[in-house]
């Protein structure tokens, strides 16, 4: 019981930090996946008087993922009011060429503007439809979502850090007493600090394990997964390898930094 109490305050604080970090990771991952989905749905239509050299265009604009030529058949079908086959072929030659440009990723508004400007510099390109208005509102919504999540997580981190600094004084007092007693019997600084570092690392591992259980549960929760399905994306909420590695590393670094604070603040009793 006593030993659990000794660990609890730091473990709770660490779990809170790890929770904020993982929320940020999930938000980042969701936004990236959503951007990918938007990029797949989003395309730019280019009207050109001549055939475009797709590979050349892709070389000049790294953002372009794929260029496909749109068939003019549908337009001709609507115009076809008893035209001869010969006239239809002639019309086909005189009609401008339509291209659908898919991008590698979901671009920012400025990236779209820049791409439009670059394409319009080509003498053969007469018109570009980039659907910038609907793009702008989606992109801004995405940025807003990201900002809200970031503010929430950073606030949580700040509050936790403030609580940790308040607790630090209590930890400092508690460990100072033991370190002083050990010092009175000739324990070198490394030996006096070793217990503190061992406790910190144990607490860091416990906190990582608690976070692992917590996020494994959240990742398997059907309600959470449904929410992502509603917006049409599938997000890995918790990667048991890379995320656990990240959380454990952060946890160990934070607790070692706290232990260092305590050791640096250690004063020999006179």
């Amino acid at each position: 019981m006593k030993s659990i109490k000794n660990h609890l305050s730091l473990v709770i604080a660490l779990v809170s930090i790890l929770f904020s970090i993982q929320i940020l990771v999930i938000a980042e991952r969701s936004i990236d996946t959503y951007k990918e989905k938007l990029a797949n749905d989003y395309s730019i239509i280019v009207v050109s008087q001549k055939n475009l050299d797709a590979s050349n265009l892709m070389q000049e604009n790294a953002i372009i993922g794929k260029i496909t030529s749109l068939s003019p058949d549908d337009v001709i079908k609507r115009l076809n009011t008893g035209m001869s086959k010969k006239n239809i072929e002639l019309l086909k030659l005189t009609l401008p060429k339509f291209y659908n440009i898919k991008l590698k990723y979901y671009p920012s508004s400025s990236e779209i503007k820049m791409l439009t400007r670059k394409l319009l510099r080509k003498s053969s390109i007469s018109k570009i439809e980039n659907f910038s208005h609907s793009h702008d509102s989606t992109y801004k919504l995405l940025l807003l979502f990201k900002k809200v999540i970031t503010i929430f997580s950073v606030s949580m981190l700040v509050v936790t850090m403030l609580l940790i600094f308040k607790e630090l004084k209590i930890w400092q007092f508690k460990h100072n007493e033991r370190m002083n007693i050990m010092g009175l019997f000739g324990a070198p600084l490394w030996m006096r600090s070793a217990i503190l570092f061992r406790l910190s690392i144990v607490d860091a591992i416990i906190a990582s394990f608690v976070s692992f259980i917590l996020f494994t549960y959240i990742a398997s929760d059907s309600w959470v997964n449904e929410q992502f399905e509603y917006i049409g994306i599938q997000v890995k909420i918790f990667d048991p390898l890379s995320d656990l590695l990240l959380l454990t590393t952060v946890s160990i670094i934070v607790s070692i930094v706290l232990a260092l604070f305590i050791i640096l603040g250690h004063k020999e009793e006179v």
Binding site: E177, M182, G183, G186, A187, M191, E268
Partner: protein, 223 residues
């Protein structure tokens, strides 16, 4: 006879304008039993603190166990402390450790083997009549029992010098007698030098001792 403590022109102070011990000169023979008495605030505990290096001499020289304590380095101070045992009036036990682990502390610091450590702790627990309390924490024991633990800890590594600050100050007669017997036993059987700071020397103590009295910053041997 070897000297375990040599003070020469020693002055001790907590601040520059208040000297507590003023230019004293004394030496303590190895294997002797010494009482230091004096009124409250006379500087008894201050002198004791300087002997285990918690207070740096303001002036003069203080050599304990061959180590000069004026401007002593941390490594030398640790070396000295490994060879002395200290008993405090407020026990100074680690609250989050069992009494067994508290007694073990100097042995662990001195790098004793596990087997030796366990045997020594076991034997000391029997000596201080706390074998049945080995797994308890200090706050679960009475003041007398806690001081017995502190005494066992001070003796555990067979130190060359035991420094005791009012070791029986707040204790019941039973615990006080046990503490005196342990101190006398260590002195007589192991030839450990014992220096006790106290208000009163127990009348029935069965050991040859030297008595120093501190007054007005000076230390004088009492015949």
């Amino acid at each position: 006879m070897d000297k375990v403590i040599i003070a020469d022109n020693l002055s001790l102070a907590y601040s520059d304008d208040e000297t507590i011990i003023n230019k004293v000169k004394f030496s303590i023979d190895s294997g002797s039993f010494v009482f230091i008495t004096g009124a409250s605030g006379s500087g008894k505990s201050t002198l004791l603190k300087s002997l285990y290096g918690a207070l740096n001499p303001q002036e003069g020289s203080l050599v304990v166990g061959g180590v000069e304590l004026r401007g002593v380095s941390n490594s030398k101070l640790n070396f000295l402390r490994k060879h002395i045992g200290i008993v405090f009036q407020d026990y100074k036990l680690v609250k989050e450790w069992t009494i067994e682990k508290n007694i073990m502390l100097p042995l662990l610091i001195n790098g004793y083997e596990k087997g030796v450590t366990n045997n020594q702790v076991d034997s000391l627990l029997k000596h201080v009549r706390l074998k049945h309390q080995a797994g308890k924490y200090p706050q679960e024991l009475s003041g007398g029992e806690q001081q017995r633990v502190a005494m066992a800890r001070a003796l555990s590594h067979n130190p060359i010098l035991i420094l005791a600050d009012e070791p029986t100050g707040n204790l019941d007669d039973y615990s006080a007698e046990l503490i005196w017997n342990l101190l006398v036993g260590a002195n007589e059987q192991l030839k450990t030098t014992v220096m006790v700071v106290t208000h009163h020397i127990p009348e029935n103590i069965k050991v040859d001792y030297k008595h120093y009295h501190i007054e007005f910053g000076r230390i004088n041997e009492v015949n």
